[in-house]
């Protein structure tokens, strides 16, 4: 551990003493989750400070119905599916995209939304369906390729939008009240796009502090320190410790892309259910690029494994090892739930970094005193 981290931990211990109570903080971003595990921050925190993982892994919160729909489309002779690699192994009702590809479906892994454009140009006789996942960091790229398709009169590109926005999920978690959350460590690169002003409703409506920090361990520690200090003074507000990169208003060019191509829509989050205005749907002017409209998709319902507790993990209600499948039936090699599939999933991070047998006392369901 470097000297700066030691100093920040000392400050955090003093701040937590001053807070004088148990504090439960949620890291919203999957990258924070992995970094906090990897660096050992969780085990170094003061006894009265606990970090829980939130719904910030886009793979983990994609509802099964979207996986089922895209697998159904992948079975068609006139369709190519393109998606980010993390989505390949997410189990749907009848298997994963990886399994569909092994059975002959044409499914392509892309690293950039522009890969879907390239596929559409290379395969003019087929329709390319882009399974588009991700939060505000990723969604502007989808908007950009839709505009590029329109500009170049490319008609065989179609988007199945699973894009989601972060703040409505934070508000929904607080409104549900299932898990005690005293403050949020907010994602850095999402906030590059949306700006830290976007978290003001969390403070205004629920009086919970929000601090934006990058994913490096010292940034995470600094973010936690600012959160605990705010809790100690009972003056919740939005703070940013990722200075010089994040601003209050976000990236206006990225936001303009989002506003031009998408409209807010109600969408279903795995574990959280339907949340109003938490999804990004293609605006009516771009309907011909919308896979739901183009193929007349009926998204149906989810049929998750009843033993899988990913929903509770995503909400911070339980730790992964409280799931009966964790580490036995559900492992990174044989994932049953999406939190074990994604490298940023909480279950995958626990499996990789958590020492066997180590358990924390859950502060969920009113455990914070």
């Amino acid at each position: 551990m470097n000297a700066k981290a030691t100093s920040l931990l000392d400050e955090l211990r003093r701040a937590s003493d001053q807070a004088g109570r148990r504090v439960q903080l949620m890291e919203v971003c999957g990258t924070h989750t992995v970094s906090a595990f990897r660096s050992g921050i969780r085990s170094l925190l003061p006894e009265n400070v606990r970090l829980v993982s939130g719904p910030g892994c886009p793979v983990c919160v994609t509802a099964q119905r979207h996986i089922d729909a895209v697998i159904e489309l992948a079975a068609r002779d006139d369709v190519l599916v393109a998606t980010y690699g993390d989505m390949m192994r997410v189990p749907g009702r009848r298997g994963s995209l990886e399994q569909a590809r092994a059975a002959g479906a044409r499914v392509h892994v892309i690293n950039s939304a522009r890969g879907a454009l390239r596929l559409a140009r290379e395969h003019p006789r087929e329709t390319v369906v882009f399974l588009a996942v991700g939060f505000e960091t990723t969604a502007p790229a989808t908007a950009a390729i839709v505009l590029e398709a329109e500009r170049s009169e490319l008609t065989n590109l179609s988007v199945l939008s699973c894009h989601k926005v972060v703040v409505p999920a934070m508000l929904a978690l607080l409104a549900a009240g299932d898990v005690a959350i005293d403050g949020f460590l907010c994602p850095s690169h999402v906030t590059v796009i949306i700006g830290w002003d976007a978290y003001r409703p969390v403070v205004r409506q629920f009086h919970k502090p929000c601090v934006v920090a990058d994913f490096e361990p010292n940034q995470i520690l600094r973010g936690l320190l600012h959160l605990v200090r705010q809790i100690g003074t009972s003056r919740p507000r939005v703070e940013n410790v990722y200075q010089g990169v994040v601003n209050g208003h976000g990236n206006p060019f990225a936001l303009a892309l989002l506003q031009r191509v998408f409209v807010p829509g109600d969408t279903t989050w795995r574990g959280l259910g339907a949340i109003p205005a938490s999804g990004l749907e293609l605006a009516s002017g771009f309907r011909r690029y919308d896979a739901v409209w183009r193929f007349g998709l009926s998204l149906g319902e989810d049929h998750d494994n009843p033993c899988c507790r990913c929903g509770d993990v995503i909400k911070g209600n339980i730790d992964p090892d409280a799931c009966p499948l964790f580490g036995s039936a559900c492992t990174p090699l044989t994932p049953i739930g999406p939190c074990m599939v994604s490298s940023e999933g909480t279950c995958a991070a626990w499996f990789k970094y958590r020492p066997p047998g180590e358990r924390e006392v859950s502060l969920a369901q009113g455990g914070v005193s």
Partner: protein, 78 residues
């Protein structure tokens, strides 16, 4: 998957840029950062630059990425 990785712009023209990530050069789209110029450092996510960053911040992030192995530069879709 919201991770963005810093790189230095070595070419920039017409909304496209070539960005150097510690020796790996990739073509990226600059539609969200139209004001960047050759020599600037940017954060790149899924083939798109999302903001300019200082060289100091970029190098600090690279140090951490190199230590942790969190980010791997993969061949990118054109």
């Amino acid at each position: 998957m919201c991770l963005a990785v810093p790189g230095r712009v070595v070419e920039s023209h017409g909304g496209e840029a070539v960005v150097d990530f510690h020796g790996n050069r990739l073509q990226i789209c600059g539609v969200m950062t139209p004001d960047v110029a050759t020599g600037d450092w940017v954060l790149v996510h899924a083939g798109y630059s999302i903001t300019r960053v200082s060289e100091r911040d970029a190098l600090a992030t690279w140090d951490y990425l190199a230590q942790s192995g969190i980010a791997a530069i993969e061949e990118q879709d054109p």
